[in-house]
């Protein structure tokens, strides 16, 4: 009995640093931000009044928030399929026997993942600028464009989506590669003996066996995409005309530029609910498969 309580105390002692850190830096801010989402707290002035659900109801009448929701959904739906498909194809290609210098390709594709998003965004700003690389190339084909790609409401979100796909594929390619390498070689050999084509092997062996990896990639990419911020912050600031405004960026602007911290916190919890619902749906889908 004594040994057990001693054991429990030792366990607690080892866990204590983490528990304290969790309470101070995670639990407390989470609870506090829920509380201030029901107030008119500005962030600058310590005074705050309870406003009930006013912040939450006001959000659904806020045109910019609704636009930010729409843009975020377009971003999620528009990037995830491309990121996933291109990553799988690249992983299969690198994994195949045709490709030499595999390490070089892996490192090359992974490079954007270890670069800061601020650096990536700065490079792409030069490509997309009014007098940038892309407009120069278009001019060679006789297409004159006097506006930067990030400065036009018709192209800004698309431009960021393309950059994001480019920046993300390396990381997911490496994850898919690890999934591919766990598939036994014998399966492909017996399929070849049975006369299966390469596409048969891909759709009937590769794809079903990397399904857990596929679901993992889609799940984490979905959460990451809903939280898109750095790209918007460094490249467009949500403009022009809110065409690239996303939920997290609008939350930041509302809290730190317009000093409506209570309202911004309500936005954060709407995002939490959206991500939670989507994650639950994905988990259900996973459970039904396995």
């Amino acid at each position: 009995m004594k040994t057990k309580s001693k054991y429990n105390l030792t366990t607690l002692a080892f866990l204590l640093p983490w528990i304290i850190t969790f309470i101070i830096f995670s639990a407390y801010p989470i609870i506090y931000s829920i509380a201030i989402s029901f107030t008119d707290y500005s962030g600058l002035n310590p005074a705050m009044n309870f406003v009930g659900l006013k912040n939450y109801t006001a959000l659904f009448k806020d045109e910019i928030f609704l636009k930010a929701m729409k843009n975020t959904l377009i971003f999620v739906v528009g990037t995830i399929p491309f990121t996933t498909i291109i990553s799988i194809l690249l992983a299969v290609l690198i994994n195949s026997k045709m490709v030499k210098f595999k390490g070089l390709f892996k490192a090359g594709f992974f490079l954007p993942s270890v670069m800061s998003m601020v650096v990536i965004s700065t490079i792409w700003r030069y490509i997309y600028s009014a007098d940038g690389l892309l407009n120069h190339m278009l001019r060679m084909f006789g297409i004159e464009k006097s506006t930067g790609w990030l400065a036009s409401p018709n192209t800004a979100l698309l431009a960021i989506m393309i950059m994001d796909v480019w920046a993300a594929i390396g990381y997911y390619t490496i994850i898919f590669l690890s999934g591919l390498q766990s598939i036994p070689e014998e399966l492909y050999e017996s399929a070849a003996i049975d006369g299966a084509s390469s596409s048969d092997a891909f759709f009937k062996i590769t794809l079903p066996l990397i399904k857990p990896t596929l679901f993992f990639v889609i799940a984490i990419n979905t959460i990451r995409s809903f939280q898109i911020f750095a790209e918007i912050f460094t490249m467009t600031g949500g403009g022009p005309l809110n065409s690239t405004q996303t939920i997290v960026h609008y939350l930041y602007i509302t809290g730190f530029r317009q000093f409506k911290m209570g309202y911004a916190s309500a936005m954060a919890y709407i995002l939490v609910i959206i991500v939670l619902i989507i994650t639950l749906i994905q988990q259900r889908a996973l459970r039904s498969e396995y």
Binding site: S42, G43, L44, N45, P46, R125, S129, A130, D131, G132, R139, E144, S146, T147, G148, L150, A151, S152, P153, A156, T236, G237, G239, P240, L241, N242, I253, F256, R257, Q258, F259, M261
Partner: protein, 401 residues
């Protein structure tokens, strides 16, 4: 024994001396580490009872650091703010009103309208950054224009931009800012409204007047200039100007040194911002600038004031001008400093400052700045009728007043 006693005495003395000092922290954007260190040493030498801590903030994250520190109750004693932020911070009770201190130095400095909010003073005008018109001398000459006489009116500018634009597919008459916060409205649109004797808000700051005739006329003109313009972020336009692809663009003095350093082959000059007509309006510019405020959280108002008085002084402010070339001191008579004789482009900016107008002191200035950015982008990037645009945003501004 005697040596030991002396040592103990010295240690105790030094400790007491350091405890006796008042620590004043200054969070600022304009002074780099070298200058900050120099300022700190000189100030502490003259004020041995104060320990000065100067923190340099970056433009990317500085604003957030200030806001977070205020929220946490750990605000610095002295804060540098952009003049457009002042009214918002004052309205939130973040700054201490300084009417009592202003009287001591009011006659020595200009731009007190930077720091007024609801008939009180909330800080001290520190540095000026008006906007001017940059123009490429070579392109003007190629287009058959007189490079010694840059456009002085809107129509002259429009005609000159059209002629320069006709020089080639890769050449643009002018550069107009879009695609980022602030620069689209600050660099010229709002100053153009002011120059046309217009305002977006009534003098008592209670009624939005964005749909008034002078604003409508300015918006129509701005849209007509678009036909000859490259549209992009300010930094993109500065780069295109440096490469010799833009006839005109509007910005603060920050680009003079950059363009001269990065594109030495581009010959350019700066001039006052054009006014509506020869016999109507004025060369209005946006009065950008930096102010120093005392945090309402500080317990050391007197010491904070002594630091501010030192920073406002010609020695420090002029050193910032020499180091950055981006801002000028607010000191009365600063134009007589010999530095401006050897920097004629900067001198033009300083002269332009006489026609510079600050953003109205509104508590909701930050939100209205966002709206103004949208106004300009909608004028330049869409074909929506001008009256509809101005009416829509007029209602949004009115809701915030």
């Amino acid at each position: 024994m005697r040596k030991k006693a002396l040592l103990v005495f010295m240690l105790v003395g030094l400790t007491l001396l350091s405890f006796g000092k008042t620590k004043i922290s200054v969070w600022q954007f304009m002074m780099d580490d070298n200058l900050s260190q120099q300022v700190k040493e000189n100030f502490e030498k003259a004020n041995p009872d104060i320990e000065l801590e100067i923190v340099q903030l970056s433009w990317a994250t500085g604003f957030d650091r200030i806001v977070t520190s205020i929220a946490a109750g750990t605000a610095p004693d002295v804060i540098e703010l952009g003049n457009t932020w002042l009214a918002t911070f004052a309205s939130q009770g973040v700054l201490r009103p300084v009417d009592d201190l202003v009287d001591k130095v009011k006659d020595n400095y200009v731009a007190w309208n930077f720091v007024e909010y609801q008939d009180r003073y909330w800080g001290f005008p520190w540095l000026l950054a008006p906007r001017c018109m940059y123009y490429n001398l070579e392109l003007l000459e190629k287009a058959g224009l007189d490079p010694d006489n840059p456009p002085k009116t809107w129509m002259e500018l429009l005609n000159a931009a059209a002629k320069i634009h006709a020089l080639g597919p890769d050449i643009y008459g002018a550069g107009l800012c879009v695609g980022e916060l602030y620069s689209p409205y600050q660099q010229w649109f709002l100053p153009a409204v002011w120059g046309n004797f217009g305002h977006f808000v009534s003098p008592d700051l209670k009624k939005a007047t964005l749909n008034s005739d002078p604003v409508i006329e300015t918006a129509y003109y701005y849209r007509s200039l678009k036909d000859y313009a490259l549209l992009g972020k300010e930094s993109e336009l500065a780069e295109a100007f440096g490469k010799g692809k833009l006839g005109f663009f509007f910005a603060g003095p920050a680009y003079i040194n950059n363009i001269q350093r990065d594109y030495p082959e581009t010959i350019f000059d700066v001039a006052f911002i054009p006014k509506p007509r020869e016999n109507y309006g004025y060369h209005a510019s946006f009065a950008g600038g930096e102010v120093l405020g005392i945090s309402s959280q500080t317990k050391h108002v007197d010491e904070a004031w002594r630091v501010i008085e030192y920073l406002l002084g010609e020695e420090v402010a002029m050193q910032i001008t020499r180091t950055t070339g981006e801002v000028f001191p607010t000191k009365v008579g600063i134009e007589n400093d010999p530095w401006f004789e050897s920097h004629p482009l900067h001198k033009t900016f300083l002269e332009q400052n006489k026609y510079a107008v600050p953003f109205p002191p509104l508590a909701e200035a930050n939100k209205i700045e966002q709206i103004f950015t949208n106004v300009v982008e909608e004028i330049l990037l869409t074909n929506t009728p001008i009256e509809n645009i101005l009416q829509k945003y007029n209602e949004q501004i009115q809701a915030l007043l």
